[in-house]
Symmetry: C2
Subunit: 199 residues, 2 copies
């Protein structure tokens, strides 16, 4: 693309590598950055460099953390008897935003998926077992996604943890709030029927 | 957002300021950056910092350029008698990609828009006049968008340039290729009628 100044072409190329950013939005973002106050552009560049330098895994729950142990694991007000197991840090954030779960977390960093070559050993499951061994955990809430891989991972964990005398629960599957039965997919309706509860 | 490590929260905050990037995609991009090889993340950070350092306006056409005069203005193969006037650098890129225009360009950096307080003096129109004065330009193609502001800017330029003996033309308005008359908006159909040509 001769018409782009070389540093602009380079930036567009780097931006296009990011998820969800196509050629058109890469161009739009690049022009925006070019016109930003210099301080704002440098703040963005620094934030990118810093995040790699300063963020690591919490040694307890494996969420991203600035410190050896993350702020949730260190928080004395959290209920230490319940651990919510999630596949990814973003799932932790989604649950944390609700304010409904006052216990701790454990991030697996993936789900079991043999066809993608992801086996239990590659997830933080060994670390979860070690953690349970040393703690007063009474319940593990498995909050993997309602997908084939999420279901398989939940089942695997349940088989592993129940013999240890730990209560293993799972997030309910069913109709999302405000959903219209008429528009819901069949799999969701089947789930909602299977998870039905007496009123 | 307590659950985010502070540098991660900072990066998400910076990313959210970019156009077209909402909270959800900012989070997605931030996690992606966190997991990139360090060299890739630094390449992105450097590209952002560099674009501000190394890109300026071409002193002839006002497109973004790495040099005092951009590669298009310096290219001896370009037709010096035709200048295509565009509102923004991205419009230049869009036309350049077609390979159809072999002349030069002039970037106004905006369109006349009294309600946004953008008057002709704030655009690179004075520079266009100076340029025409010193060159062998025979035709100016006005390639502003088919909008109220784009039309007003085209009209303003045409009134200014015609008395100088320069041919002023405008990109055609009409149905986009592959369009369905039945789905086209009324303004487009009206344009297509007004711009009709004998076959």
């Amino acid at each position: 693309m001769l018409a782009y100044a070389r540093p602009l072409a380079r930036l567009i190329g780097e931006l296009e590598k990011l998820p969800g950013i196509g050629p058109k939005s890469a161009q739009r973002v690049a022009y925006h950055i070019l016109r930003m106050p210099k301080s704002a552009a440098l703040a963005l560049a620094e934030a990118i460099a810093e995040v790699q330098e300063a963020v690591r895994f919490c040694s307890v729950c494996f969420n991203f953390s600035e410190d050896e142990v993350c702020s949730i694991c260190r928080d004395p007000r959290r209920n230490k008897t319940t651990i919510c197991v999630v596949a990814e840090p973003r799932d932790l954030i989604a649950i944390e935003k609700t304010g409904e779960h006052r216990g701790l977390y454990h991030v697996l960093h993936g789900v079991i998926s043999p066809q993608d070559g992801i086996m239990p050993e590659q997830l933080r499951i060994r670390e979860l077992l070690q953690r349970l061994d040393q703690s007063e955990t009474a319940e593990v809430i498995v909050a993997t996604n309602p997908t084939v891989e999420g279901d398989a991972t939940a089942l695997y964990l349940s088989k592993l943890l129940k013999p240890l005398g730990i209560k293993v629960t799972r997030l309910a599957h069913g109709l999302p709030l405000g959903a219209d039965l008429d528009y819901a997919d069949q799999a969701t309706i089947i789930s909602a029927l299977q998870w039905r509860r007496e009123m």
